[in-house]
Symmetry: C2
Subunit: 239 residues, 2 copies
DNA sequence: CGATCGATTGAGCCCTCTCAAGAGAGGTGG
DNA sequence: CCACCTCTCTTGAGAGGGCTCAATCGATCG
């Protein structure tokens, strides 16, 4: 297996404050692995054997309820960690991780975590900040679900995805991985039907262009307005 | 100011793995303070001057939206930390903290955090686990809001409060601090009206006994059933 | 070129919100 | 100790946003 180039990951938040030698030592314990599109990286409830750093691709973290419903926890972008069960005191993964695109990860065996943290305490403080950010983001989600209508929540979700994983095109910004109506529904607490209806509406108004697992924001600024004020007048156009 | 007795807090998760001397050193940097009922401990957006450990009483953490709506983030019980802005990389408090009962806290000046963590790395790993738990709990909340009806969400919320801060009475379990219909609405993403209607219904069925900012669960087991299956009548399946 | 998975769309309903009073409980000041 | 005032809780009526149920269409892949 090829060695990971330290310079590729040195700038990541996880490794803030580390010198090249420390980095080498940490990376030495990791193995890299490739997961093809739609493959499972780990499943909820499984023994947490490893923790991960995404190098390339995109990973969806989701949770399954006892009743069998799924919700999307987040989409992981390159440079982010995931599967940190051990760090937060869990023996088992609290969620599923699925590669939504061909993806490459670094994986450390879970038992390496306590050892690495003991030697490099900055790993813990860096991770604390990461987990703290995720907590803030999740609170934002709770607030949105409590106070906003579905259309606004979808607008916020798509803008976030675009900012995080948007690819600039001439005609707008495309979300850079396959994402279905169902996925968006599971991110926003609604049904795929409602998402479909709303996106159809936006498409007719020229705000987005979308297809099978593909969404392009054509008028991001107008979508920001939708997200912020919610109901904007102007429905009385041509029909 | 009286010195804090180390033995009172030694068993807390925050201090797991510390000896008496380390504990003394950490506690030496804290001051204790008393906040009367309904007083503000800190406000959202304020400079994060301190972080806290609740010794006695109850604290409500809430967030205010740009539109002025409030949601309850959580209720803090004795032994828990709050106001950890600095630890998760924030300069300002992301929420409001209000004493809902006469409360006593230990407060450390924020600048002490990096110094203490440098000397006692276990503080960081202990806090990482705490923040991780809160992240899990917040995800649970998202899942409930996505998949359950209001009545089930209220049932879950009250059961959680009862477990966390319940006082056993002959007639049931009382939530051990003042809590209004509005508070419950802000925990579950609904309105005070709907909470009031649902609690009235439960009261008629003998499940709860409630009054002004006071709730007693008289039939916790039946409320568990409500929380889990939701609808207990009719709804025959017959596949 | 057929099969499968995702997207679209209509109809109808109902859970929950909004709007609107009003009643009860506690606290406070005279 | 009583009167008043404020905060909380209750309850009704009506409306509507979003869900459920049910088909059909369209695109991607083997």
């Amino acid at each position: 297996m090829a060695k990971v180039d330290a310079s590729l990951v040195a700038h990541l938040p996880l490794f803030a404050g580390f010198g090249p030698e420390d980095l080498e030592e940490i990376l030495r314990e990791a193995r890299s692995a490739r997961y093809p599109k739609n493959s499972t990286i780990f499943a909820q409830g499984e023994d947490a054997h490893s923790f991960f750093l995404l190098l390339h691709g995109h990973v969806r973290a989701s949770k399954t309820t006892p009743a069998g419903e799924q919700i999307v926890v987040r989409y992981v972008s390159p440079g982010e960690t995931f599967g940190l069960a051990m760090a937060i005191g869990l023996q088992h993964y609290p969620a599923n991780a699925t590669a939504v695109d061909d993806s490459v990860v670094l994986a450390w065996p879970t038992p390496a975590w306590p050892r690495l943290v003991a030697k490099f305490p900055a790993l813990a403080t860096n991770t604390l900040q990461t987990v703290g950010s995720r907590l803030q983001e999740t609170h934002t989600r709770v607030i949105e679900m409590s106070t906003q209508q579905v259309e606004q929540r979808i607008a916020h979700a798509l803008l976030r995805l675009a900012k995080q994983s948007g690819r600039k095109l001439d005609r707008g910004v495309q979300i850079d991985f396959p994402i279905s109506r169902q996925d968006i529904a599971q991110m926003t607490g609604t049904t795929l039907h409602t998402v479909s209806r709303i996106l159809s509406g936006w498409e007719q108004r020229g705000l987005v262009e979308s297809g099978r697992q593909r969404i392009i924001l054509r008028e991001p600024h107008k979508i920001v307005l939708l997200a912020e004020q919610g109901i904007d007048e102007g429905r009385s156009s041509g029909d």
